[in-house]
């Protein structure tokens, strides 16, 4: 089968712009693991260049190679030639699906459509907080709501402690991730979310998941949302917290929050208020290494994904010697917790979860003192 892909001028330019310097090797989490050039940004761009020039047929293997990217954007910010490989890869995934190379996310799309979440879970935990109207609305997202429930419970509790007047909706998957992996966002689900959100009269939508944040903020299907969208770290940055920890704390920048959304300072502003003993990992902010979960990679390659998380976690521990690793992304949290080895003493939390725990410790401390 020799199927040719169509490349428009913009795509051609992006592909030919790669000078094959190979600098992306230093920052690609998948290459770091495999040492195989095909898994690296420049390897994938070379494949597409050959497809574009008619030297290589668009094969099943090309389609598979395109799936091996977490869209972490670390290569983008470090590319001397100004190429954004993850955009090229995502477009190629759509193209490959378009010419008949469906991937395993086709089934996920069907599951999302049927169940309203990526896991096909029929039942959703009742998180309470169902006011008819409130100024703030908290949106949890699939990974938090179905896979990191304990963490979400603490986050919800924190907002209560801070006396935030908020509500939640009968949310369904934002479904933005489908566009990353070759398919289309589910317009019906987007409409349902928009309707439910608007019914509450909320002025601000707060998301715990950085990916949901990006979808609500930037995706055309949510353009009629008509309210302010904030990631929970943006929302909380100006709050005063009555708690502190003496423990050595470090922070992992989620790719979706950092490189994709440019939110680096807000989580740090919060951490500095509560943890005077805060240390940065060596690779941090724009240069933070990916946890390995993003852009469908964990779904498609679970074993490699957890190995990447293991590498990142070990590196953070080695760099910082921290007792507490904070992040604010349900996917990063989930991947790190799966990756953590028993002998590793570090505790891993979402920042909001950790805050709630500190409040909890304070309360129990007060009780004991009494």
């Amino acid at each position: 089968m020799f199927t040719q892909l169509q490349f428009d001028e913009k795509r051609r330019k992006a592909i030919t712009q790669c000078s094959r310097c190979g600098f992306c090797r230093a920052v690609c989490p998948i290459f770091d693991l495999t040492k195989r050039p095909i898994t690296n940004a420049h390897g994938k761009i070379i494949l597409l260049k050959e497809v574009m020039e008619g030297k290589l047929p668009a094969t099943e293997e090309v389609a598979k190679a395109m799936l091996r990217c977490t869209a972490c954007m670390n290569c983008t910010v470090n590319c001397p030639s100004g190429v954004d490989p993850q955009e090229i890869v995502k477009a190629a995934r759509r193209d490959m699906v378009g010419i008949g190379f469906d991937n395993l996310f086709k089934a996920m799309g069907e599951v999302v459509e049927k169940y309203g979440n990526i896991y096909g879970e029929e039942k959703r935990r009742d998180w309470g907080h169902r006011k008819e109207r409130a100024p703030y609305l908290l949106f949890l997202g699939c990974v938090g709501a179905y896979r990191e429930e304990e963490s979400v419970k603490e986050t919800v509790h924190l907002l209560d402690l801070l006396k935030v007047d908020y509500t939640m909706i009968d949310e369904v998957c934002c479904s933005g991730v489908l566009e990353d992996v070759g398919y289309k966002i589910k317009e019906d689900l987007a409409k349902r979310n928009i309707q439910e959100i608007q019914k509450t009269g909320a002025k601000t939508l707060i998301t715990t998941c950085p990916y949901c944040y990006r979808v609500f903020k930037d995706h055309p299907s949510y353009k009629d949302l008509g309210l302010e969208v904030k990631h929970i770290t943006q929302f909380l940055k100006d709050f005063d917290f009555q708690v502190k920890t003496d423990k050595k704390v470090t922070y992992h920048d989620p790719c979706d929050l950092g490189r994709h959304a440019g939110i680096y300072d807000e989580p740090r502003a919060i951490i500095r208020k509560i943890a005077p003993n805060f240390v940065e990992p060596r690779r941090t902010r724009e240069n933070a290494m990916c946890c390995g979960a993003g852009s469908g990679f964990r779904g498609a390659f679970p074993k490699e994904s957890v190995k990447i998380a293991r590498n990142r976690l070990s590196q953070i521990i080695e760099d910082t010697g921290a007792e507490i690793l904070l992040t604010e992304c349900p996917s990063c949290l989930h991947n790190f917790r799966n990756a953590k080895r028993q002998k590793q003493k570090i505790e891993i939390y979402n920042l909001t979860e950790f805050l709630a725990k500190l409040y909890g410790e304070r309360t129990s401390g007060e009780k004991e003192a009494a």
Binding site: K13, T16, Q17, F23, R25, P37, H42, I46, E61
Partner: protein, 454 residues
Amino acid sequence: MIKKLIEIVGQDNFTDQLEELVPYSYDASMNVHRPDAAVWPETAEQVLAIVKFANEYKIPVIPRGAGTSLSGGVVPIRGGVIIDLSKMNRILEVSIENRYARVEAGVVCDDLNRELAKHGFVFPPDPASSTVSTIGGNVATNAGGIKGAKYGTTRDYVLGLQVVLPTGELMRTGSYTMKCVSGYDLAKLFVGAEGTLGVITEVTLKINPLPRHAMTAVATYARLEDAGKAIFQTMTSGVIPSVMEILDQVTLKSIRDNTDIDLPDAEAMILTEADGFTWEEVEAQMEVVLSILKQNHPIEVKTARDEKDRLNLWKARKSAYATLARVSNSFVLDDVTVPISRIPELLVGIQGISQKYGIVVATFGHAGDGNLHPQILYDEYDPDQVKRTKKVEEEIFKLTISLKGTLSGEHGIGLSKASYMTLEHDPVEMDLMRRVKKTLDPNNIMNPGKRALD
């Protein structure tokens, strides 16, 4: 062949799948050719078994590090098996008391330096690709970098090697000592050999104490001639700056037009640095350099000593490659090198050639050691531009040789410059090079087709 290679390295460390071989058909030059297979050995013994087998069946083998070569050095022009050494990336020994580090060939240059920095030491040659380039690759191309004038190139730091010879033997050569005149200096024969004589599997490198302080200065000149004089006078003043970089007018204009870096309209910019153990030492050197920079009619001179200001002065130089890479879809980046005093002639000559063929050439590079990087910008999909680019490159090489220079200061010959070897090397020397190659590699399996050796 497949069965045997899998037997040696294991199923997971072998591939002959077309798609996976595609990236191995390239480096950062414009050369392309498919290999037949690729392997990721994890030990020198595996490399030995691969080479033994390849020699028996006369299959080409191409050792490869990060594949950042700009000359086609790792492009498998005759097919064969790529030996990717990336998985052999252990730092085996750091001996501060004996001033050496022993590493596997696949260790990344910056990873080594991060480890050495913990002890206050450094492996000084710093190619632009040091975030990814491997020590094995650095040795095979005798990689240089920005600090060549004061600290030399990789060759000056190689004490010993472990090499798999093309005929299927494992050899240790060189020493662990600061001095050694015991027998022929075979280790150096493999430095810069571009993988044509054997597969380097382990390297013992001399290391230096890390300089504690550095000061940076930038000077811009309306006339190239004045910049040339400033360089020449500095390099003969008794001070050897750790950095002495030059950016030409085309490069400066490109940076000015495509970034927000504020630069004057100048024919040349010099970026220089002095480093040392104490501030007194640094300042004494910088005083001499600054007075020379100022005597030669600069537009302006700026200095910096703290990290933030230094990075600011480095901005233009650091953005040169990136800016130029975005201007066109393709480029050739050469590394011609001339005796230091001939730099202005080379720069002027390159501009003449550029105008003659209507192809943009931006030049920057390491003025302190005479090594310049003309970056020839063109469109690879325009056959006429490709043709003119070839002519430009050829004339730059001819000009360089006429100035008593060399084709390659730090990238190597590979495929791109192979046809120009006889410009620089007379028949006697070419013949000896070919005899050396034939003696070590009688079946011509090691990275064949490179440097006009066969």
